[in-house]
């Protein structure tokens, strides 16, 4: 009995720690962001101005919100066909074969590569390739960043989707086969519908990761603090501007950066909430 109580107490304590930590993050973000919101009000969210020169300081988060949302959504769009087909390949079509085993470990390997390495690869390998296509002068910009982001989030979406797809009960599939369905029909009318909410959840998780990615984006997006003028134009994201400017910031600028952090926190929370709604709707 006492062992049970200790276990219960420990579990309660560790859950409480998580709660306290999240609350603490929100409280300290709010506290730090107060000065910026007091100075600029709601204009902070909608203004694209970012002028750190002393005397004419003015901060707004819109350029970074735009950069973050555009790169993340673009990355998600590029990621969906890759991750979706790979997960079907691994978990259904070539399930249990050696090929799928190798592919699965490769996907897991991709997930383990640090983001700075992706950044380097994007900088030295992908960027010259894009320049060679003639679409872009220097290769820095929203599209390059999104492409690398997409590759970075593919393993998350693939791994989870594959897990969910392989959990579809064999009875369901066998029943479909016994009714004379082809393999393609089984996948599209049995496997995908029954795994749908899980697959959507995996893409939302991937999107969440894209929203917060910092290093690789910083190296490729061009770090121009403006709303991107086009797919191949430079921009900046919320996480990237914080990482870049945090070191030398103080006073109002520090507060503005913390406010950007708070907005990123809210956007991520919103995405997760929307994800939950979608899952509920389809489940």
């Amino acid at each position: 009995m006492s062992g049970d109580r200790i276990t219960k107490g420990l579990l309660f304590l560790s859950s409480l720690t998580i709660l306290l930590l999240s609350a603490g993050i929100v409280v300290s973000l709010l506290g730090g962001a107060l000065q910026a919101f007091r100075e600029f009000g709601l204009r902070f969210i909608i203004s694209p101005a970012w002028n750190p020169t002393a005397g004419s300081e003015e901060y707004g988060a819109m350029s970074f919100i735009a950069g973050t949302v555009i790169t993340s959504i673009l990355a998600l769009i590029i990621c969906i066909p890759m991750a979706f087909s790979t997960s079907l390949f691994i978990a259904e079509y070539f399930r249990g074969t050696r090929t799928s085993g190798i592919l699965r470990s490769l996907v897991d390997l991709l997930a383990g590569i640090p983001s700075i390495v992706y950044g380097f690869w994007g900088f030295y390998a992908l960027r010259p390739l894009l320049v060679a296509t003639g679409l872009t002068d220097q290769g820095f910009g929203v599209f390059t960043a999104s492409l690398v982001l997409a590759i970075m989030i593919v393993p998350y979406a693939t791994s989870l989707s594959a897990e969910i797809i392989s959990m579809v009960p064999a009875e369901l599939k066998e029943a479909a086969y016994s009714l004379g369905a082809t393999r393609r029909e089984v996948i599209f009318s049995v496997v995908i519908p029954s795994a749908r909410s899980g697959i959507i959840a995996s893409f939302i998780l991937a999107l969440g990761r894209a929203l917060g990615e910092t290093m690789a984006v910083t190296m490729l997006i061009g770090n121009a603090n403006v709303i991107p003028k086009g797919l191949f134009a430079p921009g900046n994201t919320m996480a990237s501007v914080i990482a870049n400017q945090f070191g030398e910031a103080s006073g109002l600028k520090m507060s503005a950066l913390i406010a950007v952090g708070l907005l990123l926190f809210l956007i991520t929370a919103l995405v997760n909430y929307l994800g939950k709604l979608i899952i509920k709707r389809f489940a």
Binding site: I6, N244, Q245, G247
Partner: protein
């Protein structure tokens, strides 16, 4: 329940005994360790100098390259023994510090204009051209204004890509301080600061980031610390100084910039030097520390070690290390002033240096 209490006590007892063990081993070596933090601009020099000093029997110093602003913050919070900054503290910042702060210049760094134009290794730039290029008003490399300053230069019909620092930095501060002095348009549009509202171009993080981006991007131009351009062998432009001479960035032309009158607290920007042989975009970089070192739990040992380290840093041996990693040595007047300032540093009212 009882069992778990006994286990807990046993764990605590073990932990206590192991702590005692490690405590006695650290007690044997009576070495002082110092912590310092700040500017990344002089970091290659400090890293090497502190390592050599430690090998020669000096204290072990950990230096965090977290940027000048971070260094100033750390000093204000009294969590470092001394800090390093590329921009001297303003009167306002000095007033915010809990005690009087002394600036000790340690070496001279220069900001160079590095470029990557296919087939071009030499380029001359005037303040007017710098203004036009960095404000985005001169957009092509074969612009008539560039050709007028560089007669006979074969330069391709190529778009100019400006590369700037995406992070707040002393390098940006030094460059913009110079540009503000020589261009009224710059003063109006961008001003002086560690981060600016750039009208065009691409941002890269840190001096290494700028160096890498320029090296990888044809048609690019940017400003960065001399040693980084030198190490990556990126061509650097000659800049026209206040006397109208085009000066190549060399250690001698950097030192020449500091040969002028220096105020007693050494808080001065030496950009746009009046000296005809001086490279115009140069600056001191400083160690900052409190004048009275007995604060908080700061020990006398740490205070003595900190002052003697900084004294050594401004001395001949360390200055030779500075030139070996491409920072210019302090000219004699600045070195004398540094020594004078260090004499004024006290612990409980008594001078630390005897």
């Amino acid at each position: 329940m009882k069992n778990s209490i006994i286990i807990l006590m046993a764990v605590l007892a073990l932990a206590a005994s192991s702590c005692g063990g490690s405590g006695s081993t650290t007690g044997r070596q009576k070495e002082v360790t110092l912590s310092a933090a700040g500017a990344t601009f002089p970091q290659p020099f400090y890293n090497l100098a502190f390592k050599k000093y430690n090998e020669a029997g000096g204290p072990l110093i950990s230096y965090g390259g977290i940027g000048s602003g971070g260094g100033i913050k750390s000093l204000r919070d009294q969590i470092v023994d001394f800090a390093a900054t590329d921009a001297y503290l303003s009167d306002e910042e000095l007033a915010e510090m809990p005690g009087e702060v002394v600036h000790i210049p340690t070496c001279i760094g220069a900001v160079v204009i590095a470029f990557n134009i296919p087939g071009v290794t030499e380029l001359k730039l005037t303040p007017e051209l710098l203004e036009g290029i960095f404000l985005g008003n001169i957009k092509m490399w074969n612009d008539a204004q560039i050709l007028a300053v560089n007669p006979g230069l074969v330069i391709p019909d190529m778009e100019i890509t400006v590369v700037y620092r995406s992070d707040g930095s002393g390098t940006t501060y030094i460059f913009s301080d110079y540009m503000t002095k020589v261009s009224s348009l710059w003063n109006e549009q961008l001003g002086t600061g560690k981060a600016l509202n750039w009208p065009s171009g691409i941002g890269a993080k840190g001096n290494p980031g700028v160096a890498g981006t320029i090296k990888q991007s044809e048609g690019s131009i940017g400003y960065l610390g001399f040693e980084y351009a030198f190490a990556q062998q990126i061509p650097m432009a000659r800049i026209m100084n206040s006397s109208g001479f085009f000066i190549e960035p060399t250690l001698d032309s950097f030192t020449a910039a500091a040969a002028a009158e220096i105020p007693s607290d050494t808080r001065v920007m030496i950009t746009n030097s009046p000296n005809p042989s001086a490279y115009p975009i140069t600056s001191f970089t400083w160690i900052i520390m409190y004048r009275e070192l007995a604060y908080g739990r700061h020990s006398r040992d740490a205070a003595e070690a900190a002052v003697s380290t900084v004294k050594w840093l401004t001395g001949e041996e360390a200055q030779a290390i500075a030139t070996s990693v491409h920072y210019a040595a302090l000219p004699q007047n600045a070195a004398l002033q540094a020594a004078e300032l260090l004499k004024g540093i006290t612990y409980e009212g008594q001078p630390v240096l005897k």
